[in-house]
């Protein structure tokens, strides 16, 4: 019952979407989960002035971005002063080398991981495996996905594509847990399996939700406690994060935290908010002796160059845009074939992977605006999707790798013809008269449109014609009336 191992790529979006749409289990799992998440989010903000809070969130993030290079330097200085060692990585490859290097310096065989989307973006686990280092995910959802040799299908709830029966099968097949539908039993089994691994781990790798420049503090948001375990039990902790995650002050954290948990899962708060400011100090009883922070660029500083695309970097990774996306809800996270799926993936991944690979993602939206409406930091996601469509067809500023990949002579010619017609009113009116006359000949099959819809038929007379007739009629009547009087 567990799904066969399958590799998803953004290039195969259409095929993957076709498969997902035809899979009733996937459809049902996502629909149920997204309905629940939307409902919970709505309830979680009921007591709040949401508009004011979102504006505050946006302003905190934009203030941080406006000072980004200075704040990164301040963060680095503060962290170093606190004993946290800071590393900089241009891309995934370099970030993986840094993490692997720290592991090797410490003679590490075994790494335990807390949930980190940046480490997914880096494909860190594969890189560590090549170096002979075993990396185990400890977030329950990530653990299940890893056991099943898959990738997360959602940035907050990695195993949301799986239902209870599928998970039971996975745990049975990979860990020998007796098949059960009892979630408490499965959770307890995972607890026991992972505790051993926490104790044995040489290094813990985590992500970061907010990095505070003012104090050099790394904030981690979680419910399970695996993040605290990862950052406390092993002797070495490596935190990896994108360079955009920095905020200026500690007081910037409460609004973002309030927005994050409510937007993500509709929780008013998560179980743990874990703030790490230094490694274990002299005399302290637990905690890692070494803490490292790896700041990963991976395309972000290029995004930063562009006034409009820059808004992509506001994101706090809550996943609300995917929870509310009618496309994501139907095709699921794997269909996107990218680390970050859904609307945020569609506006972020083209920068990370280039438009050649991801050209179908910015168009995979009806621009319904649900993502922008719920974004806790007010990222204008639909506008950014349109911008990336421009880049794809070569009418943007060329600031995205692979810009122009979708430009085709045929399509340009089609739009140019449309432009000509729509800027020549007489021809336009003539065309609609002809269309109305020939409506009997209008095709009843219009490619995929008519797979599930009837073909629209041009009206006998266009609005232009009807209004003209009516005006004439009126004038005639008025003339008659005047003649009579």
């Amino acid at each position: 019952m567990s799904q066969p191992v399958q590799t998803f790529t953004p290039e195969a979006f259409h095929r993957q979407a076709h498969d997902a749409l035809g899979n009733p289990q996937i459809r049902a799992n996502f629909r149920k989960a997204m309905d629940g998440l939307m409902d919970k989010r709505r309830q979680a903000f009921e007591e709040w002035d949401l508009e004011a809070l979102r504006t505050l969130g946006a302003s905190v993030r934009l203030r941080a971005l406006s000072r980004l290079p200075d704040l990164l330097e301040q963060l680095e200085a503060k962290c170093e002063a606190n004993g946290i060692r800071v590393h900089w990585a241009e891309d995934s490859e370099e970030a993986c080398r840094i993490v692997t290097g720290i592991c090797q310096e410490n003679g590490a065989q075994s790494v335990i991981k807390g949930k980190s989307m940046v480490s997914e973006e880096m494909h860190l686990n594969a890189h560590l495996a090549e170096a002979g280092i075993d990396a185990l995910e400890s977030d329950l959802g990530e653990y299940l996905v890893q056991l099943n040799e898959q990738t997360p299908s959602h940035i907050i709830m990695p195993a949301i594509h799986l239902n209870t029966d599928e998970i039971s099968t996975i745990m049975h097949e990979h860990t020998g847990t007796a098949p059960t539908r009892d979630v408490d039993v499965m959770t307890a089994a995972a607890r026991a399996q992972l505790r051993e691994r926490f104790m044995a781990a040489d290094v813990g790798v985590s992500g970061v939700n907010f990095a505070v420049a003012e104090t050099g503090t790394l904030c981690l948001v979680e419910n399970e406690g695996n993040g605290r375990m990862t950052t406390t039990v092993p002797p070495v902790h490596i935190a990896v994060t994108g360079i955009e995650k920095v905020v200026e002050n500690l007081s910037d954290v409460p609004p973002l935290y309030a927005l994050l948990t409510r937007s993500a899962t509709g929780q008013h708060v998560t179980t743990y908010f874990n703030m790490i400011t230094s490694p274990r100090k002299e005399g302290e009883r637990d905690g890692p002796r070494e803490v490292h922070l790896v700041l990963v660029d991976n395309g972000r500083s290029r995004i930063y160059q562009d006034d409009e695309l820059l808004d992509t970097l506001r994101c706090i990774r809550c996943g609300a845009c995917m929870n509310h996306c009618p496309v994501y809800t139907r095709v699921g996270g794997h269909t996107y074939g990218t680390t970050y799926p859904g609307p945020i993936g569609a506006i972020l991944m083209p920068h990370l992977m280039g438009l050649e690979a991801t050209k179908d993602l910015p168009t995979a939206s009806s621009l319904c605006g649900a993502c922008g409406e719920v974004c806790p930091v007010k990222i204008p996601i639909p506008d950014l999707l349109v911008r990336l469509r421009r880049e794809s067809v070569g009418e943007g500023r060329g600031n995205v790798p692979g810009a122009g990949v979708k430009r085709s002579t045929k399509e340009v010619a089609a739009w140019k013809s449309w432009q000509w017609l729509a800027t020549h009113p007489t021809a336009w009116r003539g065309a609609s008269i002809v269309a109305g006359k020939l409506r009997g000949l209008a095709p009843s099959h219009l490619g995929p449109w008519t797979e599930c819809r009837v073909a629209p038929k041009p009206a006998k007379a266009s609005l232009h014609t009807l209004i003209k007739q009516r005006t004439k009629h009126k004038e005639l009547r008025q003339g008659q009336q005047e003649g009579e009087s």
């Binding site: 290079p69 330097e73 241009e90 505790r195 008013h268 637990d286 905690g287 160059q305």
Partner: protein, 226 residues
């Protein structure tokens, strides 16, 4: 040139060019009203109610008692929950009083938590029934405790044992996270690790069904002293 120089260089270049483009305006930051995150002005009663409502809504237990005889409440809880081995510090006031009340009186082993974890990790992970900690205070708005683990009450004491018993004074509950940060001047004095704890460890990773104690405690009991 290091990666650091190149990254910072690109960011600075981006920022400078932006300034040139828009006449020095830079990124436009919307005006925001920070009071949305603070300024609650709740009464003591409201604070208590909110704290309890939110914490119990996420499966936390709140048990009220008089400050003077809180250790009796502790004894009752230990008995009720069948706790045989309790880990705790010894210098912290809460730990001192608990030890005084418990030592030799009940059939409960008091496990010293103020030890280097390396010397008792296996014991901590598999042989302790509950951890007792003090708290710095709490947040009414979210039903959260805030903890700054210390040498006497290390980080894992509130995480590894299956039950976490936390002692909280009613007057230490403040309205919001923001209020706590400001009134205790966190920005100038962040410890190695600061924590908000709101309920027991939980997951909903198996088909959205809540399950407790996935990695941390499956129970959080707050003894609220008045």
């Amino acid at each position: 040139m290091t990666a650091r120089d190149r990254i910072l260089g690109r960011l600075r270049k981006g920022r400078e060019e932006r300034m040139q483009r828009d006449g020095g305006r830079g990124i436009v930051i919307p005006e925001a009203d920070a009071s949305v995150i603070g300024d609650r002005g709740w009464s003591r009663q409201e604070r208590l109610q909110r704290f309890e409502r939110w914490l119990t809504s996420v499966h936390g237990e709140v048990i009220h008692c008089e400050t003077d005889d809180w250790t009796e409440t502790l004894c009752r809880i230990l008995k009720q929950k069948g706790i045989k081995r309790l880990a705790l510090g010894h210098e912290q006031e809460v730990a001192r009083q608990a030890r005084q009340a418990l030592e030799g009186k009940m059939d409960i082993a008091l496990v010293d938590a103020a030890r280097d974890v390396e010397s008792w990790q296996q014991e901590l992970f598999s042989q302790v029934d509950a951890g007792l900690t003090s708290t710095g205070g709490a947040i009414a708005e979210t039903g959260s405790l805030w903890l700054w683990p210390t040498v006497d009450e290390p980080r894992l004491l509130s995480l590894v044992p299956p039950i976490h018993i936390a002692i909280l004074d009613a007057e230490a509950i403040e309205d919001t996270f923001h209020d706590v940060m400001v009134s205790h001047e966190w920005a100038g004095s962040m410890p190695t690790n600061a924590l908000l704890v709101s309920g027991p460890s939980k997951t909903a990773d198996i088909e959205q069904t809540l399950a407790y104690g996935v990695h941390g405690p499956r129970e959080l009991v707050v003894i609220l002293r008045h």
